[in-house]
Symmetry: C2
Subunit: 346 residues, 2 copies
C-alpha cells in the first residue's frame, strides 16, 4: 500500500510489525493491527537498556529520531536499544487510510491512549522480548502514552520522562482539540471523512494550520519575531510558508483519530477517573518537563501531575517556540532537555 506522504521516503526506515487483533477501549476490535516501529541500537544481554518513545500528534518516528536520538546525545544508540513506535492512526501504524474493510477511512474506530499502550505492550513483550524499560519518554501525546505506561505497568517502567504533556488532557486543551476538529470536519470537501484525498480538504487543513499556529507557538515567538530566523518575513508568511505546507499532505481522518485520542487522554480511566490514584501507582523515577510558554500543556497543569507522583523532578524549560519547541528548532531548549534526560538516565 503506498501513500504520497506516509511512506519511508518521507519518514525514514521503519518496520511494520503485525500484532494481531487489538481489543480497543471502545469495545471495537482493530483487526490485524500493525505498528510502524523504528529501532536503534542493540538490546544488551541483561535486556535492561531498552528505551521506548511513542510519537506525538501528527509526528512520526522520523521527527523523534531527528530531535532526540544521536551519538553523544542522552538518547544514544551506542548505549540504548531505542524503540520508536508510531502511534495508532498516525498514518504509518494502522490508520484510516491503510486499513481495509469496514474500518477503512471514515469507518476507522475511535482509539484511546490506552489502546496504544496495549498495542505497544504486546509489541514489546511478545515480539521484542522486552519486559523492562530503562525509560519510557515522549513529548505531547507521546508523554500521554508514557504516563499511561508508567501507570499501567509500573514494574516494567524504571524511568519516565513526560515532556510538554500531561497525564490528563485539560478542559482548555479539549476545547482547542474541538476547535481544530471542527475546522477539518466542516470543510465541505471532508464529506464525512469520505474525501478522495487530502487536497479535497485543503481549506480545513488551512484552518488546522491557523489554529496550530495560534496555540502551538507562543506570544513570545510572534512578539520577538522568531519566525524571521526561520526565513519567514511575516506571521502570514510563516503560516503560508511553513505551518500550512507542513500539515497539508496529512490525512484529515488520521489527524481526527489522533485529536480524539488527545482530547480523551486520562490515565485515571482505569481508576474510576481518580487521577491521584492512577499517578500514585507510578514507581518510575520521573521527570516532568513542561515548556514554560506551552499553551496546550501549561506548566501549572503539569505541576499538578508531578505532585501526585512519588519520585519526581519537575522543571519547566523556557522556549519562545512554546509547544512546538518539540520540533527541535530551539537549540537552547533541546540542550536543556538533553541534560535533564542524561541526569535521569544516570
Amino acid at each position: 500500500m503506498t501513500h504520497a506522504y506516509y511512506n519511508p521516503e518521507h519518514h525514514g526506515a521503519y518496520e511494520l510489525i503485525g500484532i494481531g487483533d487489538l481489543a480497543l477501549a471502545s469495545g471495537a476490535t482493530l483487526r490485524d493491527c500493525r505498528l510502524a516501529v523504528a529501532l536503534h541500537g542493540q538490546l544488551n544481554s541483561a535486556k535492561d537498556n531498552a528505551i521506548l518513545i511513542p510519537t506525538w500528534y501528527s509526528g512520526t518516528s522520523k521527527i523523534i529520531e531527528d530531535v532526540f536520538i544521536g551519538a553523544g546525545r542522552a538518547i544514544d544508540p551506542a548505549k540504548y536499544f531505542i524503540i520508536v513506535v508510531n502511534q495508532l492512526g498516525n498514518g504509518l501504524s494502522s490508520s484510516p487510510h491503510n486499513t481495509a474493510g469496514p474500518h477503512a477511512r471514515a469507518g476507522f474506530p475511535s482509539i484511546a491512549i490506552a489502546d496504544d499502550v496495549s498495542a505497544q505492550h504486546r509489541l514489546l513483550t511478545e515480539h521484542l522480548g522486552i519486559n523492562s524499560l530503562a525509560l519510557v519518554m515522549g513529548g505531547s501525546m507521546g508523554a500521554q502514552q508514557a504516563y499511561e505506561w508508567a501507570v499501567r505497568y509500573p514494574s516494567m517502567v524504571h524511568r519516565l520522562a513526560a515532556i510538554a504533556g500531561s497525564a490528563r488532557t485539560s478542559e482548555v486543551n479539549q476545547l482547542i482539540a474541538d476547535a481544530i476538529m471542527h475546522g477539518l470536519r466542516t470543510d465541505p470537501g471532508f464529506a464525512g471523512g469520505n474525501y478522495a484525498d487530502s487536497t479535497a480538504v485543503s481549506e480545513g487543513l488551512k484552518q488546522h494550520a491557523r489554529l496550530m499556529t495560534l496555540h502551538g507557538l507562543s506570544a513570545d515567538f510572534f512578539e520577538q519575531r522568531h519566525y524571521q530566523a526561520m526565513g519567514f518575513a511575516t506571521v502570514a508568511d510563516f503560516v503560508e510558508g511553513f505551518m500550512t505546507p507542513y500539515f497539508a499532505p496529512m490525512d484529515p481522518n488520521a489527524l481526527i483519530t489522533m485529536l480524539e485520542k488527545w482530547r480523551g487522554a486520562d490515565v485515571g480511566h482505569g481508576c474510576g477517573g481518580d487521577l491521584a490514584a492512577a499517578l500514585g501507582r507510578i514507581t518510575a523515577k520521573t521527570l516532568v518537563l513542561p515548556i514554560t510558554q506551552d499553551l496546550y500543556f501549561p506548566p501549572a497543569i503539569c505541576h499538578c501531575d508531578a505532585q501526585l507522583i512519588a519520585q519526581t523532578r519537575f522543571t519547566s524549560i523556557d522556549s519562545p517556540f512554546g509547544h512546538l519547541a518539540l520540533f527541535g528548532a530551539d537549540a537552547s531548549w533541546l540542550q536543556q532537555v538533553d541534560a535533564e534526560l542524561t541526569a535521569l538516565l544516570r
Copy 2:
C-alpha cells in the same frame, strides 16, 4: 424594523440618527447611513465636556453604559455629555440585517474603522454641534476607533484613552480573526450570508464561541477556575452556559462585518502605512491601558503604540479575565481603569 436581538429591549434606549450617504474607504457608498446613539448628561455652554465612546466587537451601547458610565464614576453623566456610538455593522447602527437594497445582508459593504470615524465625525459636527472632545475612549475595537479619531482630528481630541486595543491590528490578531471568520463562513447553514436567521448558523456560532473563549480569556482564568465564581462548574459548562448563548442570537453577517473591520484596523492607512507618522500626529493627552493577559492586544503591542505618541501614560492592568475583563466582571480591574480615567480627565 424589528429584530429578536437588536432592539431597545435588549440594548436599552438609543436614538437612530440618519447622517445621509457615507462614502466608504472601499469606494462604495453606504446609503442613508444611520448611527444608533445613546446620549448621557448635558453638553455645557462652553461645549467642552463631551466624551465620545465607540463600541467594541459584538457589543453595543448597553455594555458600554453598564461597564463605564455612572454617577461617581470617572465617566459621570453629571459632569460630562457622553456620546456612545454603536459601530457600523454592530446590529443597531446600519448593519447587514437592517439595510435594504443591494447592500442588504450578504451584500453589506466592507467597512473600515476609518468609516466609523467619518460617520461619527459627521454626527458630532453636523448633528450634535460638537467640535471639541474632552475625551475619546474605547475598549478593543473601540480603542481602534479612538486612535483613528486622535490621528485624523488631533485638534478636536483633547484626551485619548485606548483600553485593550491597538492602533494597528497585529498579524497574530489578524490570524485569530481569520480563524473566527472561517468558523462562521464554513457553516453550511451560512449559505454565503444568505441564511434565514442566526439559528441556521448555530454550529458556526458555537465554533465562534469556542475561539472567543480560547483567545478572549486567559490561562489564569482557566487555571484559577474563575468561571466557578461566575456559577459554572467546568470549562465546558462555561462555554455552553455563557459564551455560546452570549453570541448565539447575534447576526453572523454583522459579526463578519466587524471582524473584517477589526482585521484591517490600521491608523497608518492615511500616512502610507507609516504607523509612526500617524501616531506622531496625536496631540491628545493619551492613556494606553492594555490588559496584562490580553491575547488579542498584548501589552507589548500596545507599548509600541504608546512609544510613538508624544504625551502618553502607558500602564498595563492585570486581570485573569484577559481581554474579556472589558465585560466588567473583574471589579479590581474596573476600579483601576476608573482611577486611570479619573486622573486623565483631571
